[in-house]
C-alpha cells in the first residue's frame, strides 16, 4: 500500500515556538541541512498521519516576506516554487498584531493556510484573550490554539491541516488596501497579466509598489516597461499620501493587522508584574545588567572548561590506552604510524574536543537562546560591538569564539545580511579559542606569569577591534544597526534544546572530522619522508630572521594548523622536554604564543568559513591573518627587544 504524500510548511515570526511545534510534529524523523546555495538552515521532517506521509518543512523565523534577509528570500521562494499543500502559520498569541502582519503577507502570496495560535498560555498571563472563532472568520482561515511547549493542540493542528487539505484548501481571500492604492494595484496587476510570472500577479503588483528590490529586478528582466508603469503609479501614491510608496503600503497592511487584532482580542489589566518582566528589568538594568552578564558568561566558561577539561583527560587516557593494542596488531612500523598517528589521533582529537567541550557549550547556548537571555546580552553589548562595526547580535558568535571558532563561524548566521555575516566571521576567527587558550596559559601563563598572558588577550582584543573597524570600512554596503525583538523570558523546551545541540554537533563533526584526519595523514607522511625539517628550513627566513624564533618552531606551526594546541604538544616532543625555559627565551615564548594566537584559523575553522562564505573569502581571511601575524609578530619581537621588557 502506498501512502499519499503531503507537503506542509511551517512559517512564522521568530520566537513564536515554531521549532517546538516542528519537534512535536516530527519527533526523531528530522533532517537538518542547508537550503541549496544558501547558508540558511533548512529543517525537514516526516510523519505519518491518517494514511498520509507528511513532509514538514520548518521555514526560518521571519517578520516579513521582503528581501531584507536571506531567510526571507528563502521562505518566499520556497512557498512560490515548491507550492506546499498547506502552510501552517505559527502565530504568537501574545503579539498578535505583528504576527498578523506576516499572516496577511502569506495570504497575499495566495498559499493555502491555517493558523496555529501558539503560546496562548503566555498571552493569557499577559491578560490577552483572543476570540478564536472571530479571528478565523476575519481572516477566512482556520485557527487552532496550541501550547506547543506542553504538546497541547498539536494533534488537533495536524487533524485540521489534513482536513483542510482534503477539502481542497481554499486560497485565503486577500486584504483590501485604500481605494487609491487598490486602483493602482489593479492597473499594475492588469499590466502584469501580459507576462508570465511565477508569483501571483496581485502579490507581484503589491511588492513592486513596496519597492521590493528582487521583484523589481525580475520584472525589469521580463519587461522594463512594466517597471516604468510601476514607478509612475508609485509616484502617484507618494503624491497623494505625502509618504514614500513603500511606507504607505506597509502602513496600510499594518493598519489592517491592527484592526483585526483589536477586534478579536481583549486585553485585561494585569494585577502584578510577571516574574519574567522583573527578570527582564534586572537583566538589562543600567548598572546590574553588566555584572549579571559577566557572571553568567564567566560561570559558563568555568563550567565548560572545568567539566570539559576533566572529561577530555579521561577520554584521552582511555583512547590512548588503545595504542599498545595497535602496536601489537601492526608492530612498530610505518603502517602503524600512519594508521595510528594519521587516522586514530585525528579521531581521538575529534572525540576529545567535540564531546567534552562542544556538547556542554551548545547545550548552554541553546538554553540561553531559547530562554531569551541572548537577546538581552545583545542589547547590553550593542555599543561595544559598534566599536568594531558590528551590532549587538554579533556578541553571540564572538562569545562562542572563545570556546571554539567552528560553532562561532556557523553562529554568524544570526546576523541578517551577508555583509554582516562576513564581517563577524572574520572577527570571530581571530578570537583565541579554548585550544589557543591552552597555549597562552601553558606557555606564557606558566613561564612568564599571568600578566603576560593577559597582555596577549589585550593585544588580541585591540587587534580584533582595529581589524573589525577596518573591514567594516573596506567592505561595501549598508552600515549595520540593531533591530531586534526582545522576546519574553520563558522556560526553554528541553527536547528542542537537546535536538538543536545534537544537530550542531553533527554539523561540527561533518566539517571537522574529514579535514582533521586528512591533514593528519598529510603531516604524518611529511614526517615519514623527512619533509618537516626542509620545510622548517624553508620557513626560517620568517620564523628565525624576522620573528626571532628557533628553527624547529616552523614544524610546530605547521602542526598547529591542524589543531592549535598541537603547537605546544609538538614543541615539547621536538624539544624532548616540557620545561620550555631550556629551549626558549622569555621573549621567544611571548612572540611564539602571539603568533600561535593569530597566524591562521585551524583547518576545521577554515572548513567552516568555506561552508559559510565560500572558498575565496575563506582563503582571503586565512591569507590576511598570515600577513597580519607576520607583521605583528615581527614588530612585537623588535619592540620588546628594544624596550628590554623580556629577556632575549
Amino acid at each position: 500500500m502506498t501512502e499519499k504524500k503531503l507537503k506542509i510548511a511551517l512559517a512564522g515570526n521568530a520566537n513564536v515556538g515554531k521549532s517546538v511545534i516542528f519537534n512535536q510534529l516530527t519527533g526523531l524523523h528530522q533532517h537538518i541541512g542547508n537550503w541549496p546555495g544558501k547558508t540558511v538552515e533548512k529543517a525537514e521532517g516526516t510523519l505519518h498521519f491518517k494514511g498520509y506521509t507528511i513532509d514538514i518543512i520548518d521555514l526560518p523565523g521571519i517578520y516579513s516576506l521582503s528581501t531584507f534577509s536571506l531567510e526571507e528570500i528563502v521562505s518566499r521562494e520556497y512557498i512560490v516554487d515548491e507550492k506546499p499543500d498547506l502552510v501552517i502559520n505559527v502565530v504568537d498569541a501574545s503579539a498578535l498584531e505583528r504576527n498578523l502582519f506576516f499572516t496577511l503577507q502569506l495570504m497575499e502570496l495566495e498559499t493555502p493556510l491555517i493558523i496555529a495560535l501558539n503560546q496562548i498560555d503566555m498571552a493569557e498571563k499577559k491578560g490577552i484573550k483572543i476570540d478564536l472563532k472571530r479571528l478565523g472568520e476575519k481572516l477566512g482561515v482556520s485557527v487552532v490554539p496550541t501550547i506547543a511547549i506542553k504538546g497541547k493542540g498539536i494533534y488537533e493542528l495536524l487533524e485540521k491541516a489534513v482536513e483542510v487539505i482534503e477539502k481542497g484548501a481554499a486560497k485565503p481571500s486577500a486584504i483590501s488596501y485604500g481605494e487609491e492604492i487598490e486602483e493602482r494595484i489593479r492597473r499594475l496587476t492588469e499590466a502584469l497579466g501580459k507576462i508570465r510570472l511565477k508569483y501571483p500577479a496581485r502579490w507581484t503588483a503589491i511588492k513592486l509598489l513596496e519597492g521590493d528590490e528582487q521583484v523589481k529586478k525580475e520584472i525589469y528582466d521580463l519587461s522594463p516597461e512594466i517597471l516604468q508603469v510601476a514607478e509612475n503609479l508609485a509616484r502617484e501614491i507618494e503624491e497623494i499620501h505625502g509618504h514614500p510608496c513603500p511606507t504607505v503600503v506597509v502602513s496600510e497592511r499594518y493598519e489592517v493587522a491592527g484592526k483585526i487584532a483589536r477586534e478579536v482580542q481583549q486585553i485585561l489589566p494585569r494585577i502584578k508584574p510577571q516574574l519574567g518582566e522583573r527578570l527582564h528589568e534586572v537583566t538589562i538594568h543600567n548598572i546590574l545588567g553588566y555584572p549579571i552578564m559577566i557572571l553568567i558568561f564567566l560561570g559558563i566558561f568555568n563550567v565548560i572548561f572545568m567539566l570539559g577539561g576533566y572529561m577530555s583527560e579521561i577520554l584521552n587516557g582511555l583512547l590512548y590506552g588503545y595504542e599498545p593494542l595497535f602496536e601489537n596488531l601492526f608492530g612498530l612500523n610505518p603502517l602503524k604510524e600512519i594508521i595510528w598517528g594519521g587516522i586514530m589521533e585525528g579521531v581521538i582529537a575529534n572525540i576529545t574536543i567535540a564531546l567534552p567541550y562542544i556538547i556542554p557549550f551548545y547545550l548552554i547556548l541553546y538554553v540561553l537562546e531559547d530562554s531569551g537571555y541572548l537577546a538581552r546580552a545583545a542589547f547590553l553589548t550593542d555599543t561595544l560591538m559598534h566599536k568594531m562595526g558590528l551590532h549587538g547580535k554579533a556578541f553571540i558568535p564572538l562569545m562562542l569564539g572563545y570556546g571554539c571558532n567552528v560553532p562561532a563561524c556557523l553562529g554568524c548566521r544570526i546576523m541578517e545580511t551577508e555583509r554582516e555575516r562576513l564581517l563577524a566571521g572574520f572577527v570571530v576567527t581571530l578570537i583565541p579559542c579554548a585550544a589557543r587558550t591552552t597555549v597562552i596559559l601553558g606557555l606564557v601563563g606558566s613561564f612568564l606569569g599571568l600578566h603576560w598572558a593577559l597582555t596577549l588577550y589585550a593585544i588580541n582584543l585591540i587587534i580584533v577591534f582595529l581589524l573589525g573597524k577596518l573591514a567594516f570600512k573596506v567592505l561595501p554596503g549598508e552600515p549595520t544597526a540593531l533591530i531586534m525583538e526582545m522576546p519574553d523570558y520563558r522556560l526553554p523546551h528541553f527536547k528542542t534544546v537537546i535536538k538543536q545541540t545534537w544537530f550542531r554537533l553533527e554539523e561540527f563533526l561533518k566539517i571537522s572530522f574529514p579535514l582533521i584526519i586528512l591533514s593528519g595523514l598529510i603531516i604524518k607522511f611529511m614526517e615519514i619522508f623527512n619533509l618537516l625539517e626542509p620545510i622548517s628550513r624553508f620557513l626560517s627566513p620568517v620564523t628565525v630572521t624576522w620573528l626571532g624564533l628557533p628553527e624547529i618552531t616552523g614544524v610546530t606551526l605547521i602542526f598547529g594548523i591542524l589543531r592549535k594546541e598541537l603547537t605546544l604538544v609538538i614543541l615539547a616532543t621536538l624539544l624532548g622536554t616540557t620545561n620550555f625555559q631550556e629551549a626558549l627565551t622569555p621573549l621567544q615564548m611571548f612572540v611564539f604564543t602571539l603568533v600561535v594566537m593569530l597566524y591562521v584559523p585551524c583547518v576545521a575553522t577554515i572548513a567552516a568559513c568555506i561552508k559559510e562564505f565560500g572558498w575565496k573569502k575563506a582563503a582571503i581571511i586565512s591569507l590576511l591573518e598570515i600577513i597580519l601575524t607576520i607583521s605583528v609578530g615581527g614588530l612585537a619581537y623588535r619592540i620588546l627587544a628594544i624596550l628590554n621588557l623580556l629577556e632575549h
Partner: protein, 93 residues
Amino acid sequence: MLTLEVVEMELPLTALREGESGVITSIRASFGWGKGGGYGLQKRLMDMGLTPGTKITVVKSAPFHGPIEINVRGYRLAIGRGMAEKILVEVQK
C-alpha cells in the same frame, strides 16, 4: 487665566525619556521607490511595525550611547541608537 496648551513637538526617538510615548511621524533617511540606499534597514523597521502614525513608548534607554528598547504594537523591540536617531516622533506635552 491659565490655559492648557498642547504643544506638539517633533523629536528624534532618542530624545524621549524612559516611560515617555510618542507617535511616529517619519523615518528620516532616503527611502522611497527606487532610491536604493538605506532601503533595507528602513524597510526592516517598517516590517517590525514602525510605520508613521504608530504610537511607541520608550521602555529603556541604555547608557553609553546604547540601544533603545521600545514598546510597539504590543511587543518589545530593541533599536540601535544610530537608527533610533532617524526615527522622528511627535510628543504631546
